[in-house]
């Protein structure tokens, strides 16, 4: 699979179809993986592909406006590229998407705790990976191995339903405890491909929307606002939860909104680049039972 990828990238670079290909390469410590920016054919050798290629590289696309870029993408990355196209952040003709057939990626945090059984260490998001057959990639590199089937009784919103079943005071206590550990390093924002605002609400000083301190007031405002700004846009690539150094379960919030948006408006993010974004359109029959 890797050789096919290398050959493809060399070919793209040779006939100048792209100026740069963003992929994955092995880090110096020989185990972990880091993003790789291939500009000439010699560097194509560095490219690798295995279950440690976790990052959603589409976040880097905003740094190269107007350039012809090749990008190595898995299913979840494809969906985030679709949303970026839907929000006119990328021009499809400037993009050459190389889709790698993915069997799930490793979650390094879980690896540290449950080292024995390889099955547990797959990232949570990969268990229920819809792997919707998006056909936007320019070329797909297949994998001989059989695809990991999602168990048919798998309910991706199961942790959300468990949280919803809790009493409201219990939920408040849980989230107060989680958010009080937030150190406001904004890794969740910087790693998210959907967060491309030139000046984030959190950085504005006139007006300063919420406190810059890591007290609960600032943290709760930040995390709730971040989740709201991803409503109908988050495709659950899980990068925010992976990047969070203090381990706040951010996916549990994103997926809650994903569930609500699906139930209320039967809208799912990242399916088609032509669809109108969630909050940019409406439907006569939107539910409004909560309005007096």
């Amino acid at each position: 699979m890797v050789d096919e990828l290398k050959a493809k990238v060399r070919e793209l670079l040779k006939n100048k179809q792209v100026e740069l290909v963003i992929g994955y390469q092995r880090a110096a410590d020989g185990v972990s993986v880091i993003p790789c920016f291939v500009e000439n054919e010699k560097d194509a050798e560095l490219l690798i592909w295995d279950a440690y290629c976790v990052y959603n590289l589409s976040g880097y696309l905003k740094d190269y406006p107007g350039k012809k870029i090749g990008i190595v993408a898995k299913d979840c990355d494809l969906r985030s590229i679709v949303v970026l196209l839907q929000e006119n952040q990328l021009k499809r003709e400037n993009l050459f998407i190389i889709e790698m057939e993915c069997h799930g990626v490793i979650d390094e945090k879980r690896l540290k705790y449950d080292t024995q059984n390889q099955e547990i260490n797959f990232a949570q998001k990969c268990k229920g990976c819809p792997s919707a057959k998006l056909s936007i990639a320019d070329c797909v590199i297949k994998d001989k191995g059989e695809k990991r089937k999602t168990p048919d009784d798998y309910d991706e919103y199961e942790p959300i339903r468990k949280m919803e079943a809790k009493a409201i005071s219990e939920r408040l206590k849980f989230w107060q405890e989680e958010f009080s550990r937030c150190i406001r390093c904004y890794a969740c924002r910087q790693v998210c491909p959907m967060c491309y605002c030139p000046k984030c609400v959190a950085e504005q000083t006139q007006p300063a929307w919420f406190s810059k301190g890591t007290n609960l007031e600032g943290n709760l405002s930040w995390n709730v606002t971040r989740a709201m700004h991803l409503a109908g846009r988050c495709i659950d690539c899980g990068e925010c939860e992976r990047a969070c150094p203090v381990g706040i379960p951010l996916r549990d919030i994103n997926k809650k909104i994903q569930k609500d948006v699906q139930e209320l408006f039967s809208y799912q993010a990242g399916l088609s680049a032509e669809a109108k974004p969630l909050f940019a359109c409406f439907d006569k029959k939107d539910p409004d039972d909560f309005i007096k």
Partner: protein, 147 residues
């Protein structure tokens, strides 16, 4: 913190300029009685309302937030309240999910002629917020969790 006996809830209400604000004004001019706990902020349309306003009010200690706009199909800008309806349906569920009492954030449609409905909405809202108690989400001094 023991319940302060004569605690009066502070409620922030964002009223759309064309309908709800006029409705509230009508309630005033026709001398309707309703509790004074609501601080009204006029916005051009419920569609202008930004979830950040609601979050900032709740974090800064408001006990309740109300957004009121024109009825569906009556919006002066024809689709403002449709967008608002979608936006705040998601926000309401999210606030509830993170443990904020759902009664603290409510929405209503009040048209320019419904002075009485405005008074009723405010009366019910104040009762519900009184039963929900003061907003002790964040301690005002340390801005961290109430211990």
């Amino acid at each position: 913190m023991t319940e302060k006996k004569n605690w009066e809830p502070k409620i922030v209400a964002f009223l759309c300029n064309w309908c709800s604000y006029a409705g509230a004004d009508l309630a005033g001019t026709s001398r309707m009685e309703y509790p004074p706990n609501v601080r009204i902020i006029r916005v051009p349309c419920s569609g202008r309302m930004n979830p950040l306003f609601v979050i900032k009010c709740l974090m800064k200690g408001a006990d309740g937030v109300l957004i009121s706009g024109c009825h569906i199909n009556d919006c002066h800008y024809s689709e403002g309240n449709f967008y608002a309806r979608r936006r705040f349906a998601v926000l309401k569920k999210l606030l509830e999910y993170t443990g904020i009492d759902p009664r603290r954030f409510q929405m209503s449609w009040v048209s320019a002629s419904e002075g009485d409905k405005w008074a009723k909405v405010v009366r019910e809202l104040v009762d519900e917020i009184k039963s929900a108690g003061p907003n002790r989400l964040v301690d005002r001094q340390t801005h961290s969790a109430e211990v």
